[in-house]
Amino acid sequence: MDLIAFATGLISLALIYGLLAVGLNLQFGFAGVINFGYVAFFAVGAFASALVTLPPPGSEAYLAASARYEIALGWPVWSGFLAAGLAGGLLALFIGAVSARLATHYLAVATFAMAEVVRSVLGNETWLTRGEFGISNVPQPLGDLFTPESYALFYLALIAVVVGVLFAALRHLGEAPFGRLLRAIKDDETSARTLGKRTARAKLRALAIGGAVAGIAGALWTHSLGVIHVGQFVPIVTFQVWLAMLLGGTGNHWGALAGAFALIAIREGTRFVGEIPGLDQIAAANPSFLPSLRFVLIGLLLIAVVRFFPGGLVPERRRRAPAASGAKAALPAPERIAPAGAPALEITDLRKSFGGLAAVDGASFAVRPGSITGLIGPNGAGKSTVMDLVSGVQTPDAGAVRVAGQEITGLPPEAIADRGLGRTFQTPRLYPTMTVWENLMVAGMPQRHETLRAGFLRAAARRQAEAEIAARAEAVLGELEMQSMRDERAETLSGGQRKLLSLGRLMMRRPPVMLLDEPAAGVNRRLATALFDRIAELNRQGTTFLIVEHEMQLVMRYCDHVIVMHQGRVLAEGAPDEIRADPAVIEAYLGGAVA
């Protein structure tokens, strides 16, 4: 009985699966990609490392092992790990690029299928992989320095170091602006794009890192056993990693690691199912009984965890913002849009139909720089659709949109956001699982700090940026009187608070043109007035506003200029008083026969 040897083997395996789970967690828990073909990265990593490090054909070690493979480089083991990470990452980039346009279900099944293609290739291209024979002399690093018994312990230490370093790096990345951005994308990708985030690129990077991590796990795995065989890389491995991640709780690297230990405990612990008194009788009569029962139990556990522990066994800890430093940065003044003279925003003969129904039917108007322009009209007049068309959330069928004279028609939301346009949504699209503070930080963080490189290098610049943005967030919280809610998750906020926070996110960026969709709906009257006071203040500092609002008293009081839409077109525009007196407008609201 050698419990130490037994435990060593299992802990090694748990750490390797833990690394896999952490990588998957980055792909799903952070970036929200449902990858059912995860085992493919594990597989290519393992093969890459084995083939790079195996003694080359014809060498002494090759002959001594009576090996028969055809290709190997004989490089040192560390290069195998690099190759494994590279292979996993590249495959992920490829899969990500191919499947970028696929919606969830298609993606889940397409990745599942791609993993089977990879396994099929590895199994059939025997010149490369030895197919079903496998290769059994994969080098074990520093193997000759240890006795067989102590080698397992040494290798466990090696795994612990590699996993530890990668884990720390990924955790660091998860806390860095890059990780925050990923969580935002998972929560609401469209909303992230309207804040100017290059979400596709960030997701691809997350996929690639997840793939690289799985590749390295593959290298650790193959060198630990000294064997590589295509039969390992069956879909069930993918689902085991999913089980580990779900057991631990998604979006949380400690959870993923803990989940892997739970997985191995369950997987290997169920081997003891035969020890239950009474079962041995049945087991002797039916050899399939206990092993099958084991998998029935594993299946039921998977079901039960999903059903009864939706947050996993290690629920995500509540994230807290760093203590306020007290430094409140003054919010930067908005950039002015050049050239002066051109309208801040101009739409010309804009059109958009949904299934034969013209929601916007040739609307044209201009927003004067420095104004607060109200956009009103009865329900279904096309106001929100105009907002979507202008901000790039939807593409117009015809017509043009210009910001400061530059045409932006049909650009993606992130490009439009870069041109200086910010927007809120009628139903606020916050990042519900992130805290108020994080919502603000994501919005305020410039893209250049949200890259991978910035996650690890240029730490000083990043810390400085972080501090600056945090001070700005402090200032915004103060202005919105939301300091006490900074660590609340956005999903727990009331409707009015959500409206405030979505305005706050824009304040972090200070785009010169802000489009607000019903900022006061659902907000109590006192707060609504405060909010509009804030808008007026921002306006004095130079921000141009286009505001859809139903609360007419607010429109009349705060807007310089009002545009009335009806049936997808501009019905009237002018100063608030004129609009109020315009019989055509009243008719539009009351539904008279409008000519």
Partner: protein
């Protein structure tokens, strides 16, 4: 090892995630033998076939009072047909269950558990791994009661190219096709068969490797038939073999078939249907007329015991278990103790041929001889069971043919004809 420590490991693991069950209290320290085999996954049938035969022998041993009063019990180590599960299964059997010996593993799990087996000197007598990869893999503790595929392949080529082995009125094959399933237990036949046919002067018209688990093999069969073969050598698990042969039948093929020892059992005739397999040739390890007698007796005994036909690996398992049990008995009679390290030596002791040794063919026979103070040489169903330095056996082969719904031996190729 104490029952307590064993229970503690079990309890720790069970508590870790599932049912906390009572731990079976070990009886008077039974002799544990690990079944390191797939019981789930694609190759689950392997474990299912081996276990009942092993159980039958264990009951024979235990019924006769056990070995020094200790009973033989089995612990399943499900390799799931996957490398890492195979390794963890071996770790549990070796480190926690403290098994004395292993029945198994299969070719696939061997590479992942080889170091464990060697480092802990656990004798393994596998009935299931014919792969050529094991031909020179491990000395001292590794044994197998299945001939290497390199010999089996040679035997098939020899028989197919030499009419004298194919029975009366048969003609030697001149344009054979070889179809091999890509699974760990099968691919190692490919190279020996191909090479041996060439050695015997016949070129194989077409070699077709195919993926196991496909619903049909029509394209593969079409490709095979395009070469217009007079015979097809088919190396695959029963499931795929039945599919390939049926697809060929449905495509109008009327030529001959040659299959490996995996199909030369009554079970396969039932699976594929007597009509389909009528007249096909198969390879079987059979020593002699006497060996055939033994086989028939074993088939009857197993049918009485389990109510089923003997399946693949049945005969090999019978020999593996007899060898292990006799070695245990011999080890015990030596000094009253049984350890892994000494067990391997006794495996050789009870199987090596020698002057003055009593030849035995079952545990009970061997026990009587040992208790009478004789030294023994176990001769099994698959041959004389004389292990070389690497634990391989060199069985002579029988060539069998399905006649009237049953396998019938048409010739025997002596080991000497294969050199």
């Amino acid at each position: 090892m104490t029952a307590f420590a064993r229970g503690a490991a079990g309890a720790a693991m069970t508590a870790a995630g599932l049912l906390t069950g009572g731990i079976a209290t070990a009886q008077e320290d039974p002799l544990r033998i690990g079944l390191l085999l797939p019981f789930t996954g694609q190759y689950a049938w392997v474990g299912e076939n081996v276990q009942p035969v092993a159980q039958m022998i264990a009951e024979e041993v235990n019924g006769s009072g056990g070995i020094g009063g200790r009973e033989i019990t089995f612990v399943q180590g499900d390799t799931e047909g996957v490398v890492d599960a195979g390794t963890t299964a071996a770790q549990k059997l070796i480190n926690v269950d403290n098994v004395m010996a292993l029945v198994g593993p299969t070719s696939l799990s061997f590479s992942g558990s080889k170091n464990l087996i060697i480092d802990n000197s656990v004798p393994m007598v596998t009935p299931t791994a014919g792969t050529t990869e094991l031909d020179r893999a491990c000395q001292d503790v590794c044994f197998r009661t299945v001939p290497s595929d390199s010999l089996g392949g040679k035997a098939i080529a020899r028989a197919a190219t030499d009419a004298q082995y194919l029975g009366e009125g048969a003609r030697a094959w001149e344009n054979p096709v070889l179809m091999v399933a890509q699974s760990p237990a099968m691919v190692s036949f490919l190279e020996p068969i191909e090479r041996s046919f060439a050695d015997y002067g016949v070129e194989i018209a077409e070699v077709i490797e195919f993926t196991p688990g496909k619903p049909s093999y029509r394209a593969e069969v079409q490709e095979a038939l395009a070469a217009d073969p007079d015979g097809i050598v088919l190396v695959a698990a029963p499931e795929e073999s039945a599919r390939v042969m049926t697809n060929a039948f449905q495509s109008g093929y009327e030529g001959g078939w040659f299959v490996t020892q995996d199909q030369t059992n009554a079970e396969y005739i039932e699976l594929a249907g007597a009509q389909l397999v009528d007249g096909i040739y198969g390879l079987e390890e059979v020593a002699s007329e006497e060996g055939q007698e033994l086989n028939r007796a074993f088939e009857e005994r197993y049918q009485d015991y389990s109510g089923e036909e003997v399946k693949i690996f049945g005969t090999n398992t019978y020999d593996s278990m007899n060898v292990i049990a006799l070695a245990m008995l011999s080890d015990h009679m030596d000094d009253g103790e049984i350890t892994r390290a000494t067990l391997a030596e006794h495996i050789r002791a009870v199987t090596d041929p020698g002057e003055g040794k009593t030849q035995v063919t079952s545990y009970t026979e061997g026990k009587e001889a040992l208790e009478a103070g004789e030294s023994i040489d176990y001769r099994g169903l698959v041959g004389p069971i004389d292990f070389d330095d690497w634990g391989n056996i060199a069985a002579p082969f029988g060539i069998r043919q399905v006649q009237d719904g049953a396998w019938t031996t048409v010739s025997v190729i002596p080991a000497s004809a294969l050199n």
